[in-house]
Amino acid sequence: MNVEKSPNWEEEFAERLNTQQWDSWKLYKMCYDVVKTNLITEFTGLKSLKYLPNVTPLEHQLEAAQTVIERMNGKAILADEVGLGKTIEAGLILKEYLMRGLVKKALILAPASLVNQWSDELTSKFYIPAIPYRKNTSIEHTDILVMSMDTAKKSPHKEAIYAEAYDMIIIDEAHKLKNHKTKIYEFVQSLKKKFCLLLTATPIQNNVFELFNLISLLKPGHLGNFDVFQSSFKASKHDLENDEFLKELVNQVMVRNRRQDTGIEWTTRKVHNIPVKFTEKEREVYDLILQLKDISPVFAGSFSMITLQKEMCSSKEATCLTLENMMKNCNTKDEIAFVEEVIEQLMALQTNAKAEKVLEIVRSAEDKVIIFTEYRATQIFLQWFLHNNGITSVLFNGKYNKSKRDYMKYLFKEKAQVLIATEAGGEGINLQFCHHIINYDLPWNPMKLEQRIGRVHRLGQEHDVQIYNLAIADTIEQKILDLLHLKIDVFEKVVGELDDILTYKHPI
């Protein structure tokens, strides 16, 4: 074995023998004692634990940290279900490597809204001086840097980051890297990943190729190259043996704890799928909107049609906004007249059947309720609607900065009965004090539902969580429901079962 030895000590020792300048015995002993106390005496085990009085890790978190370091050699996807403490696991791993001197520089990439939270948590719980990136932060001189993905991928930050030799890269909400054609994917691909953690509760959102992309970032080749993977996967879509094989490979680079195997008693999820019927008037407008695609080429695209249908299932306010925008692209008088007619009928609607249903649920819950919607316009409408019915509410969305988020959380906890959040509000806030969730409209993506539910169904929740999925019968929402089931199926095969998101899968 080759032994590296630094000659510096002897050189100065020779000099001291000449100059007869010597140090104090007490400092000499102190110096030895520090080295001795901090010595890493074993290759394995978590040494950092005893120095972290502010962290009491749970069994599954310790196991995850140890597995990543000892079996996965420091490169892994941490895919615990939402609310099981992936951040704690990542903190433990980073701290261990820092203490063992294997990591000196680390980069943490997180969504902009979570940058401060990461820095706070690493500093206060793990005593890791993690600096959140600000305009004047020197990338070169910061050892542990927390940055948003959007900032990092742009010049000049991108170049500055490439110039540094990071020993560890941690990426939160890593499902944002599911598409290998995006800029951020390319950016992360070109980062040197000596040690690397990808954190996501939802490694698959739509199809198994997303998982392939994630793993290929982490460990290129682990699932073969794209062509091989694609052909073996397409051809054997229903080949169980192949699924087993894939599962095995995935498990070599991914830790996923599920609620039931944490050994903690979890409250259950009670899912209520509530079909809502349009009023006759609403149905007329919905059908009218469907006709738009035959009237004008502006509405012929399937994407815009789907958007309008989804919005119509949400609120007239959301629909109207889109209609007005699209009308600007219409050319002929007839087209414009037709759209105007639709808008007129739309705005004449008096009742929103879904909102009435919401009111009913909120009233009978007699408790805090979170409503998730995908549209800002619907969000504002709902607040107005609830207010008219004597119910207090606060709004929440992902664009709020940290202090505003904290304030809104405080208002919801102390003052208001309802919190109305848009999609973006789904990540990174913890609202265990509430246990009613209304999914006012359904996203295409089952993992988004999981993220939403995870806001309240996490460690610290003491009640059963009531989930109300609202879907309007005989509309596009019906199709969304069907599709959601299909996607959950793929996920379960490869990754593991998902808690009840939708009850339809297991009809009673």
Binding site: F13, R16, W25, Y28, V34, G74, Y127, K192, G221
Partner: protein
């Protein structure tokens, strides 16, 4: 190191480095730094350049280190210093610089008859094994500079003794036969032999993991003729992760005249 140990350590450190302690408290400590210490740990070279070039009155800083922030209820302003924090690491480094070389005589009762003191070269080594994991070992050797005999765990044996830096009147230190610098070479050699004889299965295992991961990586870029830059980056990352290294450094050492 626990917070109470940090508190105690800081208190000793400031005392030993002539920084007067202004307030001592189980949860924090305030010290008036000396000019030298200010230069070493306060990171303000421009201030000192300015003072020195203008012949200004130097005003070294006071430093308050809070070791138990959760316990401090009063309004104490200062830095939170914990195991792992930047400031403490810096102080460890300074302590290492200021406690690296000693030349000491074992204390002798003045009333006694003349006592011969034997010169020893004491050296404390830290050896680190690195791959994707780490292990560290401390070796403390004492080389009798008269006979060439080596005592292991030398520091543990002498740490309770009392030493003085000036030769006691009643002591008669023998002139060493083995030169100290030659002594270091001998101890180095001894250490290398110990290392060579150790079980290096860890390095073998790391190598196996490396080969396996390299194969996986090559497979991904199998059909690509001009391998992209990220292939090279990954390859380098593998090397950094798995390449087995043994590092050896001297923590401190010196000449000890023992009874």
């Amino acid at each position: 190191m626990y917070s109470s140990q940090v508190n105690e350590y800081l208190s000793h450190f400031f005392e030993e480095t002539d920084c007067s302690i202004i307030e001592r408290h189980p949860h924090y400590i305030t010290a008036q730094l000396t000019i030298d210490m200010d230069k070493r740990i306060m990171n303000r070279p421009y201030y000192w350049k300015y003072v020195e070039s203008t012949n200004g009155v130097p005003c070294p800083a006071q430093l308050t280190c809070i070791t138990h922030p959760e316990e401090v209820l009063e309004d104490v302003k200062g830095e939170i210093v914990r195991f792992g924090s930047y400031r403490l690491n810096q102080i460890f480094r300074v302590a290492q610089q200021l406690g690296a070389y000693v030349h000491l005589y074992e204390a002798v009762d003045d009333n006694q008859d003349q006592i011969f003191l034997t010169p020893f070269l004491g050296v404390n080594y830290k050896v680190s094994y690195y791959c994707d994991q780490t292990k560290e070992m401390l070796f403390s050797f004492g080389l009798n500079l008269m006979t060439g005999e080596v005592i292991e765990q030398f520091h543990e044996q002498i740490q309770e003794l009392s030493f003085v830096s000036e030769r006691p009147d009643a002591a008669f230190p023998l002139q060493y036969i083995i030169k100290p610098l030659r002594g270091i070479e001998r101890l180095d050699e001894l250490l290398y032999n110990i290392i060579q004889g150790d079980d290096h299965n860890w390095a073998e295992k790391a190598k196996q993991k490396w080969v396996r991961d390299q194969r996986v990586l090559d497979y991904f870029y199998n059909d690509v003729e001009d391998k992209p830059e990220c292939y090279e980056i990954e390859k380098k990352a593998l090397e950094e992760r798995y390449a087995a290294k043994i590092k050896c450094e001297i923590i401190n050492g010196g000449i000890f005249y023992l009874k």
